[in-house]
């Protein structure tokens, strides 16, 4: 067995990393094609406020992050449906609001500021056994939700107006996408970090889109790119002592650049 896998924390990091590597682009795909990528960053900041709350209340920060981002996702969709604000403005509102909340909580309880860096940029040594169980269970939930709703998610993403006219419950399908994104993002905080999770949801997808294939092929390619980025990034993080989120995203970026060069049209 290679040295890196002799450590339990690394095995957990790989297991959680692969679970995240699968679900992040699965959800990211639907956000990218709907020009809604910024949602990932917004929900990541909400998750950060959730982590801060969890640390303050001494409950599992992943759980508090999931609960807070689920609440925020319902709020975002509700505001979007009310059409009182532009979609972008709603995201800006939640992004800055939750960051402000996180900062206030962190300054109220200064004891855990040392952990801050790992939540912002990811840290391979922080995935506890209970985190791993939560991550795997919810990643499986997200995976099957996408699988079962695939044809509806595709239809709504490609043509929302027609989906509405055809009697599909578009409002609830949109809510499902946002809530699944909230779960996937909160799960990824440990390994990828708040500031970089948006990148893991978006970069593998736009890399895959360079190959100009159909929807299913693009989705599969983006999952492959994402898993490869996570595994390679975790190796780099371990051997070069880097923040895991940074290493993963740099690998994803390299894949993107190669994809752009490889598919360049004369």
């Amino acid at each position: 067995m290679i040295e890196i896998l002799q450590y339990d924390f690394m095995v957990r990091a790989f297991e959680a990393g692969i679970a995240i590597g699968i679900v992040a682009p699965l959800i990211g795909m639907f956000l990218v094609v709907r020009r809604y990528s910024l949602l990932a960053d917004t929900l990541a900041h909400v998750s950060f406020a959730g982590v801060a709350l969890g640390l303050l209340l001494k409950i599992n920060p992943i759980l508090s992050a999931i609960v807070l981002s689920l609440i925020a996702s319902v709020g975002i969709e509700h505001l979007r449906n009310s059409q009182r604000l532009f979609g972008e403005s709603i995201l800006a509102l939640f992004l800055s609001g939750s960051l402000a909340l996180a900062v206030i909580i962190l300054s109220l309880a200064q004891g855990f500021n040392a952990n801050l860096f790992s939540y912002l940029f990811g840290n391979i040594s922080t995935v506890s056994p209970i985190d791993l169980k939560i991550t795997i269970a919810l990643a499986i939930t997200v995976f099957f939700a996408v699988l079962f709703l695939y044809k509806e998610l595709f239809f709504v993403s490609f043509d929302e107006e027609l989906a509405r006219a055809s009697g599909l419950p578009v409002k609830y399908i949109n809510l499902a996408i946002v809530m699944l994104a909230a779960i996937a993002i909160a799960l990824s905080i440990r390994i990828v970090g708040v500031l970089l999770i948006g990148a893991l949801m978006v970069i593998p997808v736009i890399s895959a889109m360079q190959y100009r294939a159909g929807f299913r092929t693009t989705l599969l390619l983006s999952v492959l790119f994402s898993i490869f980025s996570v595994i390679t990034g975790l190796f780099a993080a371990y051997y070069l002592n880097l923040a895991s989120g940074g290493a993963i995203v740099i690998i994803a970026l390299i894949i993107f650049l190669i994809s752009v060069l490889f598919t360049r049209r004369p």
Binding site: V33, K151, E152, F155, D159, R164, A165, S166, G214, F215
Partner: protein, 252 residues
């Protein structure tokens, strides 16, 4: 169903945005096998009427029956195939093949959690064949020309095996040569496949040449009847204003 079966019955329907009336006291019906053209000026309420038929907006007053059922009780929405406006300019970067897009037209028939079956695939292949786009099956939808893409979107509507096909300004962004072929294709769907078609356009000539019944709409129903004889100068003035003159322009 007998030939004279009414698919759509609009009875005294009005619609207004706040205090602004958009549609006033419309009554008409669409029968099985009709090829109905809806014509009128921009802002005359054509798209609003379609949206009411599709259940996207609710009339302020009046009633609508679809396939003999009140619109509130009508659940089989897949019986109405819809091709929305401006599809020719739809997102060119969306990563989907023609087959994937056409197949999505089956989704309303299937219901949640049901996967596509062989019957669905057959219906999709048949819709692509009818629309003459089988050879583009695995191409990206964004790589098709405006006319080809328009056919793909009609194939998507046909994949659901609808009883009525509704098209809202379907040739916007499609070049003239492709438009002519497109109209022939629609006529063959009506003639050979016995598909009931509702075709919305602002182009008087297209409606009078292509459809067999016309409905002129400018907030109220200006005329309704067989298309050939109906669109005289008097009707056009009521639709488009006093300064309108009929000019012949041929789509050939």
């Amino acid at each position: 169903m007998p030939v004279n079966t009414k698919y759509i019955e609009v009875d005294n329907v009005s619609f207004s945005y706040g205090d602004t009336p958009i549609l006033e006291n419309l009554s008409f019906s669409v029968k099985k096998g009709d090829y109905l053209g809806i014509i009128g000026p921009n802002g005359g309420g054509k798209t609003t009427l379609l949206n009411i038929i599709l259940g996207l907006v609710h009339p302020t007053s009046g009633s609508i029956k679809l396939f003999g059922k009140d619109r509130h009780d009508f659940k089989e929405k897949y019986r109405i195939g819809y091709v929305p406006q401006r599809v020719a300019q739809a997102d060119r970067t969306f990563p989907a093949t023609v087959f994937e897009v056409v197949r999505s037209g089956r989704v309303p028939r299937l219901g949640f959690f049901n996967n596509f079956t062989k019957t669905d695939t057959k219906a999709v292949e048949h819709a692509m064949e009818l629309s003459g786009i089988s050879k583009y099956r695995d191409m990206l939808i964004g790589n098709l020309s405006g006319g080809e893409r328009q056919r793909a979107f009609i194939a998507r509507a046909l994949a659901g095996e609808p009883d009525i096909l509704i098209l809202d300004e379907p040739t916007v962004g499609v070049d003239i040569g492709a438009q002519k072929k497109f109209y022939e294709f629609l006529a063959s769907l009506n003639r050979d496949q016995h598909l009931t078609i509702i075709f919305v356009s602002h182009d008087v000539d297209v409606i009078s040449e292509e459809t067999n019944t016309v409905l002129c709409l400018n907030h109220t129903l200006v005329c309704h009847g067989p298309s050939g004889s109906l669109l005289d100068e008097h009707v056009l003035k009521r639709l488009y204003g006093e300064h309108t003159k009929q000019a012949i322009h041929n789509h050939d």
